[in-house]
């Protein structure tokens, strides 16, 4: 078996075929077979994506996978970066944990539909992480969004219906803006391939139409990347939707939208300096707003939801800054966010009258430490890198603001930690499996900064994105 076997299209094609055949699985073996097929698929895909990630490290500028045998920009290509491959590995891993977790649920009916939706949100996010074509990115954005709507409304409760309809309306308007942005970009540059668009843009320059296009892309991806004020749908969804779905929102759809913004802003438009200040302030306001709101919440899941918006704001700041250090920070913050918030959401779904279950105390500690980016965790390095990047670029006001609101974050997280830690309940064996597995992964990541190779790895992560700006 050579490395050529790890062709991401193979995974996407097979996964799609298996999802399409879901009614057949159900007819053959009922709910159980549908579940077993999904579990096997997610496990296989996780392993496969590890292989793809390894393969991607050998291509510093990113691996180009042609589809249909046509050369770019005439056919669609996947542009597999190490960063995108790592994030998709995590998506499939979290999906695997989520479906294990969901196996104890019996109120999600019809179950095969639920499992298909879980598969498709992971698949859509994978597509968003890997694709190298702007319109293809839009299609995968829609796949991810529709799967998210379906999952979010799936419980057919009063609260989920209310939370979902707000989400749908905002996301739909956003997708109209995305298409307008694509129309502007295609009309002006005459191409849909990202790398080719960047090359063409260098000769054309940031004209008025291109500035509009950037803004519309921001609106389009801002809804799912949870940028203020487009994130107002999120707290309700995070409050009421089942935790295994939220785990996929955190690791899948919101990260994929942030990554899509990274693609458009850094890879296609090349960090236009004229608009940099505006973007940074949008990120800072997102962070500040989220932390202040989180501080005043009386419900743990709602507080976590706002904390997660705050993290999205930080990632947005790091991406928009676009320097080498800032991109490294963005990568580490994304991973940290996936691990810590997902652990906390899994536990938050099982909190009783007397606090958190006792048999998941270690994951709880890990989750809280990760959520406030404390030293042993990669999030700590992420935040340090972000501060360094801000200082290097001379944005001292933003430096102080982020530090200030980080203290607010530590304050309320500590408060919640104290009130939850002493719980005496127990979590079912199957259910506690998910947070424990994630804790093991984040424990393994402790040692990441210790390995000299890891520093090298970070260079590989950002390599495809570091290039000379357009302006």
């Amino acid at each position: 078996m050579t490395l050529k076997f790890f062709d991401p299209m193979l995974m996407i094609g097979i996964s799609l075929a298996i999802v399409f055949l879901m009614p057949i699985w159900r007819a053959l073996g009922g709910k159980k077979l549908a579940w077993a097929v999904s579990v096997l698929l997610y496990a296989f895909n996780t392993l496969f994506m590890i292989g793809v990630s390894y393969r991607a490290t050998l291509y510093p500028e990113g691996l180009i996978v042609k589809i249909g045998g046509f050369n770019p920009p005439f056919g669609i290509v996947l542009h597999v970066t190490f960063w995108g491959a790592v994030l998709s590995t995590f998506v499939w891993f979290v999906a695997f944990l989520s479906i294990m977790y969901a196996s104890t649920r019996n109120d999600a009916e019809p179950a095969y539909v639920y499992y298909s939706l879980l598969t498709l949100i992971a698949l859509g996010s994978t597509g968003m992480f890997l694709t190298g074509d702007i319109f293809n990115l839009f299609v995968f954005t829609e796949i991810t969004a529709l799967a998210a709507f379906g999952l979010s409304a799936f419980m057919k409760k009063k609260e989920t219906a209310y939370a979902t309809i707000k989400y749908i309306i905002m996301a739909e308007v956003a997708s109209a803006f995305l298409l307008v942005a694509i129309a502007l970009l295609y009309g002006k540059l005459g191409t849909l391939n990202m790398l080719d668009a960047h090359q063409t843009l260098k000769t054309v320059g940031m004209t008025g139409a291109m500035v509009l296009s950037v803004l519309f892309f921001l609106i389009g991806y801002g809804v799912e990347a949870e940028i203020f004020p487009l994130n107002l749908w999120a707290p309700d969804v995070y409050r009421y939707v089942p935790e295994e779905v939220i785990a996929l929102f955190i690791s899948g759809s919101s990260k994929a939208a942030a990554f899509a913004w990274l693609r458009m802003w850094v890879m296609v438009f090349g960090v236009p300096q004229k608009m940099l200040q505006v973007m940074l302030w949008i990120g800072i306001v997102t962070f500040a707003f989220a932390e202040v709101m989180a501080y005043s919440q009386k419900n743990f899941r709602r507080a976590l939801g706002y904390a997660s918006l705050g993290q999205a704001g930080l990632v947005f700041v790091a991406i928009s800054l676009g320097s080498e250090l800032a991109l490294k920070a963005a990568f580490l913050l994304m991973l940290n966010h996936i691990l810590s918030e997902t652990i906390l959401f899994y536990i938050a779904g099982n909190i009783g009258e007397d606090g958190a279950p006792a048999n998941v105390r270690i994951p709880l500690v890990f989750g809280f430490l990760g959520a406030v980016s404390m030293p042993p965790f990669i999030g700590f390095w992420g935040k340090i890198f972000l501060f360094m990047a801000l200082a290097k670029a001379g944005y001292w006001v933003m430096f102080v603001l982020i530090a200030l609101f980080s203290i607010v974050e530590i304050a309320y997280m500590y408060k919640w930690f104290v009130s939850l830690y002493k719980g005496t309940g127990k979590m079912e064996l199957v259910r506690s499996f998910s947070p424990i597995m994630l804790t093991l992964v984040s424990f393994a990541m402790w040692f990441l900064p210790l390995i000299p190779k890891a520093v090298n790895l970070l260079d590989i992560v950002i390599k495809p994105f570091i290039q000379k700006g357009v302006m």
Binding site: M9, I24, L184, G187
Partner: protein, 228 residues
């Protein structure tokens, strides 16, 4: 409250003005073909062997988008099934005989039109999506006028087999030619009905999938979900 409307109108007029102005100055209406378009106009017939360039792009050059798109339709179906589950036992009203006979005559004709559109999708305007929509509207007509129930299970099977076929043809391309959705069949002569390699096959599968998905969506919208 008046203020809200005035602000909204101002916003809308600004949006239209700014975008239309920058589009017209930078991408004038009726401008020359872009680089991509020139390539397609010059090379499509040679590379894919079919005369309908839109079909060539939809199924061949950008076939992956189309696979994503049928997935979006599947998602709509799944979401509608999840949110508005279908109830099996409801009374079926007896339709008026004139209506009954009318439908019996019209229904096969519409289906035939759909089949024609999809089979000639690579030669003339039309194809899988259009045919799918036409066939779905035939079933819609059938349901509305006879208030009859369709056997949705068989639609689900059709859809899943057609979709899996599409995805697996794509995977077969990886093994046959090194790229997903690689056109590994002989392309035949331009303008022939049997030409274009996998393109007509894929478009027929798309037609089957789209029609059954749209029918499922519409029938669930019509009757699914228990009223409380």
């Amino acid at each position: 409250m008046r203020l809200k409307y005035i602000l909204a109108w101002i916003f809308v007029i600004l949006f239209v003005g700014v975008v239309a102005y920058s589009l017209q100055t930078e991408v004038p209406f009726g401008h020359d073909l872009t680089k991509l378009a020139k390539y397609y106009v010059d090379n499509t017939a040679r590379e894919t062997g079919i005369p309908n360039f839109v079909t060539a792009i939809v199924v061949s050059y950008r076939g992956f988008d189309t696979l994503g798109e049928v997935t979006v339709l599947l998602l709509a179906t799944l979401g509608v099934i999840g949110i508005l589950p279908w109830e099996k036992h409801k009374k079926v009203k007896k339709a008026h005989p004139v209506l009954l006979w009318g439908i019996r005559i019209v229904f096969p004709i519409i289906l035939l039109v759909g089949v024609y559109i999809v089979i000639h999708g690579h030669l003339t305007p039309g194809g899988g999506f259009q045919a799918g929509a036409v066939v779905a509207s035939a079933f819609l007509l059938y349901m509305v006028s006879l208030s009859a129930h369709l056997d949705l299970e068989s639609f689900a099977f059709t859809e899943s087999i057609a979709g899996a076929g599409f995805a697996l043809i794509g995977v077969a391309g990886i093994f046959a030619g090194g790229a997903f959705l690689y056109n590994f069949l002989p392309k035949g002569n331009l303008f022939d009905l049997f030409s274009g390699g996998i393109i007509p096959i894929v478009y027929i599968l798309i037609g089957l999938k789209v029609s059954s998905e749209l029918t499922e969506v519409v029938s669930h919208m019509m009757k699914g979900g228990a009223e409380q």
